[in-house]
Each structure stands twice: as structure tokens, then as C-alpha cells.
Symmetry: C2
Subunit: 459 residues, 2 copies
Amino acid sequence: MNTSADHIYHTDTIIALATPAGSGAIGVIRLSGPQAVPVTNTIFRGKDLSKQKSHTIHFGTIRDGEIVIDEVLVSLFIAPSSYTKEDVVEISCHNSTFIIERILKLAMKHGARPAKPGEFTLRAFLNGGLDLSQAEAVADLIASNSQASHQMAMQQMRGGFSNELKNLREQLIHFASMIELELDFAEEDVEFANRDDLKALIYKINHVLQRLISSFEQGNVMKNGVPVVIAGKPNVGKSTLLNALLNEERAIVSEIAGTTRDTIEDEINIHGITFRFIDTAGIRTTADIVEAQGVERTYAKMKAAKLIIYLVDPEQARAEVEEQLEELEKLDIPFVTVVNKSDILSPQKQLEFAHFNPNFLSAKNKEGIDELKEEILRKVNLARINTDDVLVSNIRHLESLQKTSEALARVLENVDGSVTSDFLSMDIKQALYYLGEITGEVTTDDLLENIFSKFCIGK
Amino acid sequence: MNTSADHIYHTDTIIALATPAGSGAIGVIRLSGPQAVPVTNTIFRGKDLSKQKSHTIHFGTIRDGEIVIDEVLVSLFIAPSSYTKEDVVEISCHNSTFIIERILKLAMKHGARPAKPGEFTLRAFLNGGLDLSQAEAVADLIASNSQASHQMAMQQMRGGFSNELKNLREQLIHFASMIELELDFAEEDVEFANRDDLKALIYKINHVLQRLISSFEQGNVMKNGVPVVIAGKPNVGKSTLLNALLNEERAIVSEIAGTTRDTIEDEINIHGITFRFIDTAGIRTTADIVEAQGVERTYAKMKAAKLIIYLVDPEQARAEVEEQLEELEKLDIPFVTVVNKSDILSPQKQLEFAHFNPNFLSAKNKEGIDELKEEILRKVNLARINTDDVLVSNIRHLESLQKTSEALARVLENVDGSVTSDFLSMDIKQALYYLGEITGEVTTDDLLENIFSKFCIGK
């Protein structure tokens, strides 16, 4: 078990490519550790880097003996004014795999070693530059692909609930030490820790915990997307609608040449929130017994959705639509009724369908799409992303919050009873442990390994 | 037509992602132009960038109003101390597509415009930071994937033949102006340009041109790889041999985690030179008439090769091998005879084959592979990469060199004859034009468009 208060001095210097592999103009190689500057200095021809100030950039060449590997820019960050709080050097080179490989090998020959995934951020954490939940947010930030997931990660990286939890934890530590003191004076039956004050603090902590725990559902949906099913008879235009919803967003993306987004075909972004579309076989009336099983599967998928878009063909019989809507209502999931092909809809049918209060649109002609988007946002009730709301989106945090809450519940249960101080003390320590796990006051090697191994190399 | 001596002031500011798209820790966004610093200053919260020195780095946040988009490092390069010779800003952000897109859009909202492919390097050329052949070398450098192609590109980027050609061109310009002067005094029949000196200069230029032109074959092979065919009967172990040749190189590459090389399956790198393997159906004796056509295609491919590795099975009849070797010799391409499966080769067969002076190896057990590599290098006669040799590897340069040479040949042809000075002048001007095209003293918009449109965006 480590605590971030320990000073962990790394004697080795790590190196990795910090920019993505692939086609581009610039590659950035990052070194961190006590030898970052000397190692770079050995392979760099230009100014003497050991004599330069932090946050300065120097032009020169990287050489292997007399062979020029590349003309580069070297950026210096002198400890503690760096991401890792160690000396950091960034070598900005031409983005050729061959050059990057040569520079990495060369630096490794002179004493640097390849960084493990997330090792730069791990060092930032161990050296006190970030707490654990902030470090985790760095990975979330890089992975963020919507305004909502981005805002959550950014907020967490910039502090989020860390300070609030740290403050509450410190108050709880105070009580823990008071109760420890009681144990020392056990024979004298003194009470250093005021039980009413302790209860008041636990209520306060629990209030925060419950707020954070209950934010998880929304946080998770914002991070991972809102699962949506487009239901309806076959050939009613489900994929045309999906494309119509997708297209506008794509147009915006392709405006900026060079930032190819790895679009997942069935994810769309509406006003900063990601909607994840789940494919279904389409629903039919259950009259056909043979298809009953397929329909069952479709309903199972629909139950996992946060929203169902029920797409109606203008030729469909009113009775059939009515029947299917009744089925949908049983699922108790928000749904939007949409009548497609509004361009060929007869006035009579329009009147007939008006009863269901649907959105009329033409997926093919892209008419009524914006209105549908607004309706979708209203239905999932995530229309406003409040940037001041602190949301929990990390399942590890959720679990630690829940375990803290359980331990505190036991404290409350026992504080007025006949339970001795040492039992009380044990539960408070448990609560402190789980609370500390979130921000990293309490860590184990396994926990750190588990968190940072999921990072990319170079971060 | 432009000349680099013209000062072309760009009033607009360009922006692009300079690092590859994909998974990584850092993304670098680059701005260049008179508004690079003001635009960044508008969206950056931190120090006032307009008051900072060149080659300094500043930590802060990029904000859209009050919304924090990212915590970033901003690097400043103040004109003319930058790649483009304009003010350049590099924003180093977390490598999330979402963040990069937001920052690009935000900077574009405040006056930057998306850069076209190669536009940063085009500006560097137009502002006199690089000549044209150097600018082209930047693209070659990024694309370089072997020691040979890297060395050639690096040498060209750092000057290469540019200075030599520029110097010769200036001497030729001197003669051109003397001959122009003769035209002004045409009636007086004076000769300002000494014809013997002119001829001496043209001989000197032609000597350089011929050296460069004849270096193209080697340069091209070094840049694009040596085409090699592995021939032999089916199932003789061609792909096992290819894998054995590939494997060692791959092992070195995978040592360095994080630098995934986009390996093309059939390219291998031996001592810094790329060998490009051409797939063939395998050769058989032409006795089988039905297969004659397939064999013909194989031979056609073999003729395009610079080297043939002829792979023999230890069970093959000596007569058959002899017959095929005779066929190969007719092609007049260097070839290496290799007997595979040396582990199961009987001493009798070994004796039988010794006559062909082959390399014995076991592709499966990776025995004899190093010896084969040495043999391959010897055969293609590129064993030594002399880093001092200036090689032409760009077909555009080759063509300009050839056209220069042709124009100069006409000058030589006419200088002693009865041709008037104005014809002489015309051919010299032609030579100057083509010579100037190489380094960019002479450019047309089409030429520039053609060169820079092949660059990646952000370079």
C-alpha cells in the first residue's frame, strides 16, 4: 500500500512516442526522469540543453555519431514544472516511423527505457501532480467523443469531486483519531469524539455520497452514450432515418479536413450527447407464431434502451399502430412515435395518425429531422448539460462510494448502541479506506496497475 | 510564374492538426500567419501570449467563453524564427478527436482558416526558408521507411545538390546576360560572352548533370525499394523464406512498444535497404503446354526485378534445376540460387547441387538466412550506402535535369556554328528555366500545386 504523501523518487528515465502512429507531419517523443536532459543532450547537436531554462524550445539535430537522424525541436520542462513533476523533454521530429524508431533506439542506447502504458501519468500521480481520479480523467478526456463525455472528463481532471471528498475525509480522519485515543484510555471510559458531531458529519458525508452515487446513471449514459432502439415494421425506413440523423453531424466533421473521426456507424451526436443506436430486426405483430421468438429478442433489446423511436409507415393500418403502441407502453421506456414518408402521406392518413401525437417527417428528404432531435432530447431528459454538475461516470468510483456509504451506515447503526469504540473505529477506518481509494490517498499496486495499464503508451 | 525572390506576404493565418489522427496522448495543432498569436491569445487563458518571447512554452487553458476545452501547452515561434518564417503557434493538447475538433473550430471562428495539404511547407518555400527540392525532401523524409530512403531525403533536405546547381546556374545566368548584351549591340558584331569559356562552363554543368542523372536508378531503387522475385517450383518454401527474411527485422521493430510500423507484408529491410518482393505463381518447366501462359506472366514479372532468388527443393532433379537455371540466365538479371530444407538434404544431393554454387539454408529453422542476406546485398551491389553520395530519387528532378542537359546540348551544337546569338540565347534560357525548376528559382502555380498537393495536411 502506498500513499501519495510518500515521496517516490524514480531513478530511471522513461521514453515513448506521445503522438499517434500514422500519417502526419509531426511526431513528439517524450522523456521523463532524472536523465531526460542528459540523455537528450548526448544525441542532440545544438545548444547545451543542460544550460537552458524550463519551458524553452531549441532547434538542432539528433545524431547517431556523425549521421544526422533528423532536424528537431526540443522542448524542456524542468522539475517540478512539468506534467510528471520530473524533468521532461519533448522531441518534436518529422513524423516518419523510421526516424521515430531511430530516435527511440538511440535514446534507449543512452539510458532511457521504454515507458509502460500510462507511466507518465502514473508518475504525475505518484509525484503529487494529480490525484487518482484526476489521473483517470486524463484517459477519459483522451477517449471523449462528445461534448457531454468531454465536459465530465474535463471537470474531473480539473478537480471535480476530489476536493470535496478529500475535505470530508479529513474531517472523518479527525474523528477516527479521537476514537483511537478513546481506545488508549479505554479503562477510563472517556469520550473524546462527540457522538452527535460524528453523526452530523456522517449525515453530511452521506448526503454527498448519495448525490454522487445517484449521478452515476446519468454520468454513465453521458460517457458511454444513450442506448436507443429504432423500432417499426421492416422497410419502414429505419436505416434511412439513422442516416438522416447521422448526416448533419458528419457534414460538420468533414468541414475540418485532416481530423478524420473514427465514426462508429450507429452513434450519433445530438447537441453534445451521444446516442448509441441498437439494431433490431424490427417489430411485427405477434400473430405470426413462427416469428414470436424473433420478436421476443427484439423486445429484450428494447428493454435495454433508454429511448425507443417507433417508426410508422404512412400506409400502415391505424389498428396495427395502435396495437404496437400498446405493446411499447408496457415496456415503460420513453418512446417517440414517428410517421415517416410525410411527403407521400395522404391528408386522411395524417388525420388518422394525429391521434397518436407523432412526429411527421421524411427521412429521405431530410425533413423534420431537427424537430425529431429536439423531441429525442426532451424525452431522455438530458437536454441541458449543466457544466457545474459533478457527475460520477467511473464504475470504480461508484463502487468505492457505495462501499464507503455501507461502512458509514454501520457506524451510524452502532454509534448509539452498546458497541465498543474499537468496532466503531474499524468501520470508520473502512469508510476512510474506500473514500481514500477514489482520489488515491489509499492505493495498492494492483489498483494502480489496473488503472494505468488501460492507458495508452506515451501518456 | 513566381520567383522565390518575390516577397509574398500572406495576410491570412492557416491552421491544421500536425500530428496523426488516431490513438495517442498528445495532439499538436499548428497555426501560421500574422494572426497566429492574436487568434490563439483570444481563445487561450494564461499569460498574454503577445508579450512572450519566441521559442517559449506556456501552460494554460483553451476556452470557448467560460467552457474549458482543454488544458494545453502553447509553443511560440516568432517570425522569422519559425519553419514558415511567419509567426507560428503550436498548441499541444490532449489527443481527443473531440478536443482537437473543438479547438480547430474555435480558432477558425476567430479568423484562422484550414490549411491546404503542404501549405506550411509551401509558405516556408515562398518565404525563402527552403528551396523547392528541400521542400520536396520534407515529404520524402516523412515517408522514408528505410535507412537508405531516410539518408537520401535528409541529405536533400539539408541542401543536397541544391547549392551546386544554384552555383552553376548563376554562372550560366552571367553568360546569358552577356549574350543578351550582344543582341543589343547586334549591328556592331561584338562578342561579350567568350565562347570558349561558355563551352567550358557547359562541359562542367553537363558533368554534374550526367552524374546526377545516372544516380537516379540507384536513388530510385533506394527510395522505392529493390524489386525482387523469389522463383521456384510450387511448395518449395517461398513464403517460409520470405517470413524468415522478414522475422528478424520485425523482432527489432516490436522491441519498441508503441511504434507500430505499417508493415507491408512483402517488404523487407536488409542493412538499411528496402527489398520489395514481387509475388509470382512459381516457375515450372514449360513442357506443360496448358501452363505456358502462366509461366510467361511469371517471366514478365521476373524481367521487372533487379534480383531473382531461385529457390530449389532438395528433392528436385538436377536436370530440372539445370534447365530452369539456363532459362534464368537468359533474363540477364542477377540471381541467387538457394537450396532450401538443408536440414533434410542428403549428402548425395548436396554434392549434386554443389555444382550450381548455391546458398544452402533452412527457411523453416532460420538457418543460413544471414548468409543469404549478405549474398543478396552483394548481388544488387548496393551494399554500402555512402552518406556522402548525392543521389537523385525524384522523377521531377530527373526530368528537369534531362531537359537541362538537352538544351545545353543544343547550345554546344550551335555555339561554333553560324547560328545567331538570339538562338543561342534562347537555348541557354531554356536550360536556365529547367535548372531553376529543380530548386524553385523558377516555378509556376501548376508546378507548386502539383508538388504540395501531395503533402499531408499540417505539413
